[in-house]
């Protein structure tokens, strides 16, 4: 971004890496008034690959060559740590840091723009081209004509922290939050009635919907706002904690590998849900979610001792995977849902949903029930070779299909020569959303780290299994209001800042990049193992045997593979191997939390069904806040929230 470039050009870098181009080092441009880059440097010893994580493996022995990957093979055995090294980094200062640039972030930025709050937004990918907001798909926007308060009373049926939603709704000056702000952010919503007025796809007293939404326009709008500075291609890998208070975040500017510290009075985490642990089909886990979402900040909170909740909860849908992973995308997939039950077939061509023993009416309104029926058919061996069921793109389905999916069917047929009327497509149950976020209070703030606000914090959708653009819109704005209130009333300038907190993280990252291991395993290889191990355990039906197998394999990966993780590429500039390594550790941690949080619940809850415990158990009607027990294991708190009534 232009502003980004300006700020960057203002830096005087202390970076040790000769790989950083000189153009980044000039100090002639005027500094941006709200975000200054100041260079710092530090000497420290490298080492401690997984320090602070509960997945630390013990031994380094038994090294064996993995796969055919080219991996550096050092003469010494085990992990070789470098000696004392100088690592430079740049410090940026802002009042308000927002991590993420999607629906939650835009909502927060909208409030910031309205209230005149200056904000620095971090995007892991190129701004405008990441996450659900950064791709051209036709989003259906949902709102309540009676305002967010009424809508949340519907949405929050499975929400545990109800007070939070009452707070959010009561402090929302934009009720009802319909298409008015969206169109003023640049959209045209061009599905129109003959008189040119907005055509409502759904028009009910409690819910209205409009389609043909392209939220990239929102990013255009806020990317141009005077009070918003964007740092993109920046991967946050840790929160910056001083005296127990979150005073920002740290990470890597990916194009050069430069380390960055963002000092802020308040920090809002607005990154998307991570489904990256759920299987793998050539290019993607079994999900339409995006690869940038790897739970980087959430798992950093965990490593720092924070509690993580809702990782057992996820949201599922049906997604085509034929011919391969390229079709598992919003832009190329053909999937079905409970509206298509009469057409869904098992491998023998039987429309299994229409079994008279099943409740077809319930399937239409109860997505969880429907998903479990599909999952059961697959478990019974009636699915296809990839573990999916079949759906034909017949003329009847095409007639009711939204254009964005019809164009996917056209693409698949054009590219492969297949006729999907005749050849039903195999569809898997995809995990499209996922919890696994910090525990927050009624004001969106982390219960462990003052100053850290989380749009998708635990218990916001809870058993609903992740998030929703509508909910992100409500809670992103509320998080911004809470964070501004915190700065005004509670924030105290630190007497002294201990930079070692950030420097330790840079030590960890440098060690990940430079370490050499005899018989090392590349991070991407380990990542695939994590995805394969987690897939059977984190579906809609989770048997105890599958959970136990996943626990065992994930523990083995932590103990045996992670210590041997080493890169084939040690460069700092956009090093995909390095990024994979950082993400692999996060994915392993999230996978472990997800499996464990299911395993300890002797019940069926939310989207998941445990055959051994087919009913919900009221003793477990709570959020499980998992944390590192300090001894290499996990512990959890049962957190309950008052069952407050919604205002009329």
């Amino acid at each position: 971004m232009d502003k980004d470039e300006q700020v960057m050009a203002a830096l005087v870098k202390a970076g040790p890496s000769k790989e950083v181009p000189d153009a980044e080092v000039s100090g002639k441009e005027p500094r941006s008034p709200w975000s200054e880059g100041v260079s710092r440097r530090s000497f420290f010893k490298l080492g401690g690959l997984l320090a602070g994580t509960a997945v630390v493996g013990a031994g380094l022995g038994g090294c064996s060559q993995e796969g055919g990957a080219k991996v550096p093979d050092s003469a010494s055995s085990g992990a070789a740590t470098k000696g004392e090294t100088e690592i430079g980094y740049t410090v940026y200062e802002t009042d308000m840091l927002v991590i993420g640039a999607g629906f939650g972030s835009v909502s927060a930025c909208s409030e910031a723009a309205r209230l005149g709050q200056k904000v620095l937004v971090i995007d892991k990918g190129p701004y405008g081209f990441g996450g659900a907001c950064g791709m051209n798909w036709d989003v259906v926007y949902t709102w309540s004509p009676k305002g967010t308060e009424a809508q949340d009373s519907v949405f929050a049926r499975r929400t545990v922290n109800k007070q939070l939603f009452i707070n959010a709704a009561k402090s929302d000056p934009y009720q009802p939050d319909d298409y008015l702000p969206i169109i003023n952010w640049g959209e045209t919503l061009n599905d129109r009635n003959p008189d040119g007025s907005i055509h409502l796809k759904v028009d009910m007293p409690m819910s209205q919907q409009a389609e043909w939404g392209f939220p990239r326009h929102w990013l255009d709008h806020f990317g141009k706002a005077d009070n918003i500075t964007i740092h993109d291609y920046t991967m946050i890998t840790d929160i910056f904690v001083n005296d127990g208070v979150c005073i920002g975040a740290v990470g890597i500017y990916l194009p050069t590998g430069e380390f960055r510290v963002y000092r802020s009075k308040a920090t809002i985490l607005a990154a998307g849900g991570c489904t990256g642990i759920y299987g793998w089909v050539t290019l993607s886990p079994v999900t339409n979610n995006v690869p940038d979402n790897t739970s980087d900040v959430e798992m950093a909170v965990f490593r720092k001792g924070g509690r993580i909740g809702d990782s057992e909860h996820a949201a599922y849908d049906m997604m085509g995977i034929v011919p391969s992973g390229w079709a598992s995308s919003e832009g190329s997939m053909f999937g079905g849902d409970s509206l298509d039950i009469e057409f869904m077939l098992d491998k023998d061509g039987v429309a299994f949903c229409m079994d008279p023993a099943l409740d077809q009416d319930r399937m239409l309104v109860d997505r969880i029930y429907f998903n479990q029926i599909v999952a059961q058919v697959i478990m019974d061996g009636r699915g296809g070779p990839n573990g999916g069921i079949y759906l034909p793109a017949n003329d009847e389905i095409r007639k009711q299909m939204r254009y964005m999916y019809l164009r996917c069917v056209n693409l698949i047929e054009e590219k492969t020569g297949a006729d999907l009327r005749e050849e039903p497509m195999e569809c898997l149950i995809e995990m499209y959303e996922h919890g696994g976020t910090p525990i927050i209070d009624d004001n969106m703030m982390s219960t462990e780290f003052a100053g850290l606000f989380c749009v998708r914090g635990a218990a916001t959708l809870a058993e609903g299994g992740g998030s929703h653009q509508n909910r992100n819109r409500v809670l992103g704005g509320y998080a911004m209001r809470c964070a501004m209130e915190y700065i005004k009333k509670s924030y105290k300038e630190p007497e002294k800042i201990d930079w070692q907190d950030a420097e330790k993280e840079f030590s960890r990252l440098t060690d990940l990049r430079t370490r050499e291991v005899s018989g090392g395993i590349r991070p991407i290889t380990i990542q695939r193992k994590i995805q394969r191990a987690t897939y059977p355990a984190m579906g809609v039906i989770r048997t105890t045997a599958d959970l136990e197998a996943a626990r065992k394999e994930l523990a083995r990966i932590a103990e045996e593979d992670i210590p041997k993780m080493a890169l084939s590429d040690h460069a700092s500039a956009y090093n995909r191997d390095w990024k994979d390594a950082i993400e692999t550790i996060n994915l392993l941690q999230l996978a472990r939390l997800s499996v464990e949080a299911t395993y300890v619940r002797p019940e069926t809850r939310g989207s998941f069904y445990r055959p051994e415990y087919p009913e919900a158990n009221d003793d477990w009607k709570c959020t499980l806040g998992f944390y590192d027990d300090g001894k290499g294991g996990l512990a959890f708190d049962k957190i309950t929230w008052p069952d407050v009534p919604y205002p009329a």
Binding site: M135, T256, Y574
Partner: protein, 235 residues
């Protein structure tokens, strides 16, 4: 297949170099899958993608010299090349920095108005005719593939190029926008376009985007306003 990948780490290498990889193919294999195979099994490659289905444009690369989306470009046996998208600074290997151009496009898309729209204006000022034009332009994912191949952009570097001209057209058709977008289109090189249709030929969202029809309409509107130039191209 033999896949030649152009490698480059600009902070280390003096210049880009080619590396050949043996990649086993399967039916309906995409270029993105081939690059992923190399990254997973042979050697780390810096490449980028997010949507896997022509919605984000992040995987745009040159395949055998033609700009494509790696996500929906099928590969075949034989020798093929993949290189970073031409005309942009290389960050590393197949990742290029398109941010300057994409920021210019984003800024162009920003609607210009005196005051925010009211609910009544939203419902009374749009027409179905305008909406029908707007809805297809939405599918432009701003990947720059058309700008890379555009001969007018090569001949007249001042020309804003097709993807940014689409943004101007979008707001010209948007009845809520109050800026003079025709003037913007003409000043940006509407008459420099050679009307050759290369943009549509390489467009990965060609089912929706018909550049020439849009350029013709812009030109007709500009002509009606007297916004013509002495030596228009592609007439």
């Amino acid at each position: 297949m033999k896949l030649t990948i152009t490698r480059f780490n600009p902070s280390v290498d003096a210049k880009p170099y080619d590396q050949v990889f043996d990649v086993p193919t399967f039916e309906n294999m995409t270029l993105l899958e081939a690059v992923m195979y190399v990254h997973e099994n042979l050697e780390p490659i810096s490449f980028d993608y997010t949507c896997r289905g022509r919605l984000c444009g992040r995987c745009s690369v040159m395949y055998d010299g033609i700009p494509v989306f790696a996500c929906i470009q099928f590969v075949s046996e034989g020798s093929h090349t993949v290189a970073p998208l031409e005309g942009f600074p290389v960050i590393r290997d197949l990742i290029v920095d398109k941010r300057r151009e994409q920021k210019a496009i984003a800024d162009t898309y920003e609607r210009v108005r005196i005051a925010p729209l009211t609910r009544e204006e939203i419902n009374s000022q749009m027409t179905t005719e305008a909406a029908d034009k707007l809805r297809w332009i939405e599918y432009c994912c701003r990947c720059q593939v058309c700008t890379v191949i555009c001969p007018a952009k090569k001949d007249t570097p001042q020309y804003m190029g097709p993807s940014r001209l689409l943004a101007v057209a979008y707001r010209h058709f948007d009845p809520y926008d109050q800026a003079d977008r025709l003037l913007e289109a003409v000043a940006g090189g509407l008459w420099d376009c050679q009307m050759c249709g290369s943009c549509t030929k390489v467009c990965q969202n060609s089912p929706e985007i018909h550049h020439l029809d849009i350029w013709k309409e812009l030109r007709a509107d500009a002509t009606a306003r007297g916004l013509t130039v002495a030596n228009p191209k592609g007439v």
